[in-house]
Amino acid sequence: MEVPSHFSKAMLFALIATFSLACAWEIYWRQRDYPLSYNEDNAAWANARAKVDANDEPKMVIIGSSRGKFDVDLPALKQKTGFNPIQLSLHGSCPRPALVDLANDSLFTGTLLIDVMEPLFFAMPGIPPYTEIQKRVEYYSRWTPAQQASHKISRALESKLVFLDQEAISLNGLYTRTPMAPREGVWTFPVFPLGWAYVCADRQNKLSDAVLNSTEEQQKIRNVWMQLGMLNSHGGPGGDTLQFMFDVVKASIDKLKKRGVQVFFIRFPSTDVFLEAEHATFPRKMYWDRLLEYTQTPGIHFEDYPVLKKYKCPEGSHLSPADAIDFTKEVVEIMKRDKGWKTPDASM
């Protein structure tokens, strides 16, 4: 491009203006006490997944959906088990593709905790809860050196800048919050309240103080769960479809067990109407009990243990950060005491 004479002046002005606006944007969000949150993009998952293959030592890995991310406190888990846990759960996703991926990875040994949130665990292939995690698994298999380097730089920036929250306050995130009349007959993905939760560097999720301290905010999130169909009455899969899912899960777990991996299913708490809806649509006998029996795998259902049953989810589906610490410690105690989990050294 032939450079016009006044262009340098314009570019200098643009540079200063961009820098000033970016600073102002950061200050704006900090003044609103917006929590610093890491992105949950493909690279973040791949980075966690790479830790499984970092060496051939036993690992503690968690797969599942958002309950696995909110309800397992990773520092508490490390303190109680001695493992540095690897969080591979993904919000709103089905853990089956990640389970198959880990089963096929001969480098993975140790312990695997599988979050069973029935509507997501038994999600049909081809729908977003399944495809979203599938995409991450595929992304990891072709994660290039350039993407790895970019991820490292991105994490360094995300650790300092509040406005780098891709899901909520990016251009697209803000655009979807613009009020607009819904199109007739079209389901629109609900919008979460800004800053309702945040993601830590280790991929653990936490409910924000704004939600914990306000029943109004909690109700807004409950409304989102309802819009997402968590109170729907139509049941989960059955017949051959369900049997096929069980078969895939069993085949993967058998592979893992052959390598000495200790596998545990965990049913995390949900509260009031959401728990009732889950009971109604995914009866325990047909799904949870059958899953444990068919795969011959130990499981911890929060309703079976008074120490776990006492916890309440502020917005119906996830534990508060403080409760997640105690809940995690209790779960590890049960794993050790009742489910035969062996310590890292003993398991090797």
Partner: protein, 490 residues
Amino acid sequence: MVFNSLVFIVFFAVVVILHYCPFPWKIKKINLLTASYIFYAAWNPPFIILLWLSTVVDFYMASLMGIESNQKRRKLYLIVSLVLNLGMLAYFKYGSFLLDNFVALLSGFGVEYHALPLDIILPVGISFYTFQTLSYTIDVYRRTIPPEKSFLDFALFVTFFPQLVAGPIVRPQDLIPQFKTPHYATRKMFVGGIALMILGLFMKVVVADNLLAPVSDLIFGLPMPVDALDAWTGVLAFSGQIFCDFAGYSTCAIGAAQCLGFGIIENFRYPYGAIGFSDFWRRWHISFSSWLRDYLYIPLGGNRMGSAPTYANLMITMLLGGLWHGASWTFVVWGGLHGIYLVIERLIVGSRKPKPLPERQLSAVLVRAMWIPVTMKNVRVLLGILFTFFLVNITWVFFRSADFGQASRLLAAMFGLIPNAARMATSHDICKVMVVMAAIVLIHWRMRDKDLATVIQNTSWLIVAAIWTIMSVALILSQQTGDSFIYFQF
């Protein structure tokens, strides 16, 4: 490595610093070559061997052609180069496609054959550097250019990172001479280069990836028929996405090269402002269409042998051009449609002379006091643009669809042939696609005969600064890095 990644910022800063350090020119060229290999290896290091192979073989074949006077031997050296380059392209890009079609052909004859899937990974940008290096050996064979004596300059021509993986496909005579003497950007050139990179990134990251890709991915990812509005929204979204993605890359490439003091040819010239398909191909992926013209269409005979052979040559060129984009029959149909459009246009244009328009009569009726004066000429141009754009969108359906089933479903939906089909696009989706696409067509219309630099020159510096500030802020706000450019897969 992609331009829209954080690691590229670091990489490019290091390259620029090294380029402006007081080293001898040869050392700087070695730096650029090393940087280009790092740029490429950052995807998949082993594939750099293909690049080396292509570079070494083509350099020596061309050298042999230069000293050899026996025409048969010269042809043999050219064939070696063609077989190697096209062979690699055929294996990596078309291996699975050829195997699938072979199996289907056998099945057509009642022979059941089950081939093991080849599971080949496509080396990034192989189609681009293959065409670039082929143009060198063909030109040397034709004696259009002499063989390059410096291996370093030739290797840099094949590998020069700004345009290595997605073009523009640069000709040897345009780039190699630039490596002969020290090239540096002046301060103004450097600023212009950075501005082009911001513009390119804005097109790619903000418009293509943030605004349009989610909608086109949604509509083209659906297994069922959709409502007419949804179908048009999806197709228009893809239409904008592919332009902004690819033109965005080319703009970044030109900007990056300019920052280092090198000039790379323009690859897009407001293609959605085209009237007719000859015009479209003079504006869309210019380096590719001119490559096809010079190395395929003209050698086939071009338009020198009468009407029927000209139409046949056009069709062959466009069908192969379609196949170049991907190993699928949908790309061939895409190319075929463009070929048919070009043939029809030739038939129409050749059969009648343009009539002068009753400019004054209509202008008297229409309102003149508008930002875009409504004159007969403007109306005619706009109608021509919109009609061409409409036909281009029909072709994009085949380009983007995974198979003919999906393409036919979408086309049926676009023309309202599917009653009570699913509505999937939200108000937000429709609104942003329509606004963005209207803006793109409007800009292309107004800029179709203009030059960006001249427009900037005639615009107040404050407005220019405001536009670049908006683009930069939008880039920061979009918070999206690392997504591949669509054309990398070609």
